[in-house]
Symmetry: C2
Subunit: 112 residues, 2 copies
DNA sequence: CTGTATCCATGATGATACTG
DNA sequence: CAGTATCATCATGGATACAG
């Protein structure tokens, strides 16, 4: 089944679902930071400045709920927590690549 | 130049640019409505209910600024205004199609 | 280190009325 | 018809302090 064959209401619904998962100021920057090797809370926060702890916590919880991030708690003292992108998260790559390309071109377009 | 070769900060910046242009509750539904033939303010509003005039005005201005929508004012009485998607707007199709596909699959994924 | 709790500022959105 | 103006509401996000 091809995308173009979907009824318009379905298209809008699916697009809005996707936007809901990835939109906002922080979610993709966080995913990119984690996938580049920032696996600890502080590491991510430093990479994605100026995000606050409160907001970062919430964003990580959202991403975990959507199965894009895996949170692992080690029972050490002090407690160690790691964040990793899931295998499922890789399914976002074509979409993110499209966004990068479009955003890159759009900058030029606006200057015209 | 390939997307993967971009430095991480650039990737994040371009993705955020893209998100800024298309995200939010209304922008893509409005673009879809216009491209399907709703070219007048009232037509769009009826198609994208329950959007208010105030919000629709703002969203259309944003889309116009980003060159995705063309607003034409005819000097008649009463005044006639039409909205059309630009040729540039078509460049969004690969991105929107990816979003539709991903959102469609994501619904299934969350049920697992 | 990894968060939680609290308070507060800001912006986005809605309701309604009104204008040319 | 195509908006603008005004007021009210609400969610989001930031600042800061603190806890385990």
């Amino acid at each position: 089944m091809h995308v173009d064959d979907l009824p318009i209401e379905q298209k809008i619904k699916y697009v809005q679902d996707t936007l809901f998962v990835i939109s906002g100021k922080w979610k993709l920057p966080i995913l990119i930071a984690i996938s580049q090797g920032s696996n600890r809370f502080r590491d991510i926060q430093r990479q994605v400045l100026p995000i606050t702890t409160r907001v970062l916590t919430k964003e990580l919880r959202d991403l975990e709920q959507n199965k894009l991030v895996i949170r692992t708690v080690y029972d050490t003292s002090p407690v160690l927590v790691t964040y990793d992108v899931s295998a499922y998260c890789k399914s976002l790559k074509p979409l993110v690549d499209e966004m990068i390309l479009w955003g890159k071109n759009h900058r030029k377009k606006l200057i015209e």
